[in-house]
Symmetry: C3
Subunit: 327 residues, 3 copies
């Protein structure tokens, strides 16, 4: 597997300094690179690593062009990390295995309802289940073992990873007088926009009355739970193990860190960044970074502090008394 | 898709005020309703919404009958939300697609052991795996891609959503002297009662020596982990992303909020309500609401408070000194 | 299903006191045992239970041999719990159902690429998907419905439970100037060592440039998320619902409690023990037990303390003022 720099530049135009016949056999981080590696400088803090890297070529922004050229070949582009992302795509395209059945856009083992609507350019992996009324847009890829339930829609150019379940029933019950639960049938569906990626074993529930909605460009990692009636705004990214409870609305361009929990019926504004493992217990109206994590400590210190925490309110009262007695 | 009010009342007897020929084309929340929508007033706090809704008909309790009738048709019933739940079921029954293969109760793609015992009225979805010795009760539905492992039992009228794994091995190892783990074979199974619902991609492990037990009427949301030997009491509800470690016992009529964690070997009494994302670190003997979540804050405030939290025990000591010096 | 003690001793040599013709029909904990049960004393704190157990035979260490023999048959071995683990394995081997198709090591419903490399002694369960370039070592078992993606490797004697996804794309995007994400193709794979066990519906993502690596003897529970480029050291155990973010390195012989989160790019040393539901927000260089969990409390107390926690930094300032005014 290799490309020469000239091939890369031909596909992804940018200024190259150095020998365009340099052979690239792998893409690598600066510290892992060898003489046949293409690497990148995405953040100034890695400048020293760039200067000492063994990489055959480094992708840099104009500000670092001279510094990079001093050590070897470099590709100069305003956004090195974005350029690098496109190189990974080129690399994958150039080195993909010839498909065993390149014509088959729907794997023969998939169970597809005759009442589903699948764009001819979409690809459905092995052992997927596509139920009646479901629809899938152009160039979307469902990897193996995905469930797309009745009447749910996935847009164009989406990637849905293995084990995803779209359109299971939301968690809705009316309590009977004896404390047992009467099922509320979930009559809505799921609507997913274009350019959405959904990680392995993630679940997106169908709406109770109207549809659960995932807007264009949303990126969702693995093992994420999205409850019924949730709405996620465009280009929001959701890291692994996040849970978003029913009827919550998350704005556009948000980031939810891994393991974060958003309670039901809350509204989170656009461009809100929730730190990993934080719990959103109230609506957030203002863009910004929000956190709420108990700091990690050695166990003995944690035990002392956690025990004291259970008296914190009383400690405040004691401080008040001290303050009063001082005056 | 539509029903007239007379049809609804015929199926679900209740007092109707207004024109029983009113056509209902959808079920909707009060604020989303239009003139052909049936809606409901479940809580008094939505009274103003009820008075201004566009709904063609509203389900209300007797206390709000006059107020509802003043604006249009209404159905009067002691428990409006419960009645609404039954309407969702009627709606689904009335509008279900004619099944392509209504006779086939076991999808042809399911892999079912000849040594499994499946009630003739149960339905097994596409690409399920039912192993030897497993049994499934009357009218239970397994959606697509469910695994039911050897000797595990699911009762009657259960719904098991896509991707669920029942009866994988519990996490049990004996440590060898070199620190590596010797597998403890999990010789128990899983016993699930009647009227249980299990959400997508949830896992319930088989017991080590005896069975993991889920009692009647338990409702479990998506991506929940239930360890080996756990016992869940009747009609307990477990929201998404909950983890219950091995050998924990949770009582009846409990509610575990989303993302909550219950440590192993603990005992939680009946009618205990655990707030979302809280960690149950000790047994709970008394019914009530329990919480333990770090409050969300803007990141700068959180950082200051979290840093101080790591000195909390020492702060308490300083308060003690101040108190002593005052006297 | 039964074995006599003589059969057990023949397979797993150890000193037996008592009648070697005693029939054992089940393995059981001390408090659940009956006269035909084999039980074990793993920890001294259960000594009283051992003395009063109904078990037909108890596995004990030499220190408790006399005490055990005073009440009935006993097996004496330096590590009773390890011996018991081996008895569970013997029990399972002795009582396994005759396989319907003992010859078939790859279930006929599995979708296996002709370009995959599967050791002849490995077993592939129903409805698994094994992609091109994937490889599986000797005596490894994939239960039903496992996905092993392109070029990923699972070593020898591993057990991979139902619903596991190995080798889905890591969560990697470069941000475009408009805030949308450009996919970074994940060009690495996953390499899993020997004697690894992976729980149901767990996900292990493929690396971005190099491989995600799980060393020999690692034990992973259900619904665990392991991000791209993560490295887990040998014999580390990871409980259910843990999330390990991209490029984190966890040492050998660690234990991560259920629901713990490890942030990206951190390094955790060998023999670190993270308490359940704790969040690892910084690298840990030193072996030990670490915790960070908000203590559970009744909801009213929690509310007061949590509200005060948001003023904790200011409380510290007030204490400082009091201290200054005292002098």
């Amino acid at each position: 597997m290799s490309l020469i720099l000239a091939q890369i530049i031909a596909e992804l135009p940018a200024e190259l300094r150095g020998n365009d016949q340099t052979k690239i056999t792998r893409l690598a981080a600066l510290e892992d690179a060898d003489g046949q590696s293409l690497s990148f400088l995405a953040q100034p803090k890695y400048l020293a690593q760039m200067q000492s890297t063994q990489a055959g070529c480094v992708i840099v922004s104009p500000a670092y062009a001279d510094s990079a050229a001093a050590r070897g070949a470099c590709i100069i582009t305003p956004e090195p990390y974005l350029y690098f992302a496109k190189v990974t795509q080129l690399w994958k395209r150039s080195h993909a295995r010839p498909a065993v059945d390149a014509q088959a856009h729907i794997h023969s083992s998939a169970i597809v309802s005759p009442q589903a609507h699948i764009h001819p350019s979409a690809r459905i992996g092995a052992l997927c289940v596509i139920e009646a009324g479901a629809s899938i847009g152009a160039d979307t890829i469902l990897k193996a073992r995905v469930t797309l339930s009745e009447d749910c829609h996935v847009g164009a150019r989406c990637i849905v990873h293995s084990g995803v379940v779209i359109g299971a029933d939301g968690f809705g019950f009316a309590m009977r007088s004896d404390g047992s639960g009467e099922k509320i049938e979930q009559l809505g569906a799921v609507r997913i926009g274009d350019d959405v990626e959904i990680g392995a074993n993630t679940c997106i529930d169908r709406g109770a009355l109207s549809d659960t909605q995932i807007a264009d460009g949303v990126k969702i990692d693995n093992l994420v739970q999205i409850g019924h009636n949730v709405r996620i705004g465009a280009h929001t990214a959701i890291a692994g193990c996040v849970g978003i409870a029913g009827s919550a609305t998350v704005g556009a361009y948000c980031f939810l860190g891994g393991g974060a929990i958003v309670l039901g019926h809350l509204i989170v504004a656009d461009r809100v960044n929730i730190s990993a493992a934080s719990v959103v217990t109230r609506s957030i109206a203002k863009s910004g970074q929000y956190s709420g994590v108990f700091p990690l400590d050695d166990n003995a210190s944690w035990e002392k502090n956690a025990a004291t925490l259970r008296q914190l309110y009383r400690l405040r009262e004691r401080i008040k008394i001290l303050e009063r007695s001082r005056t």
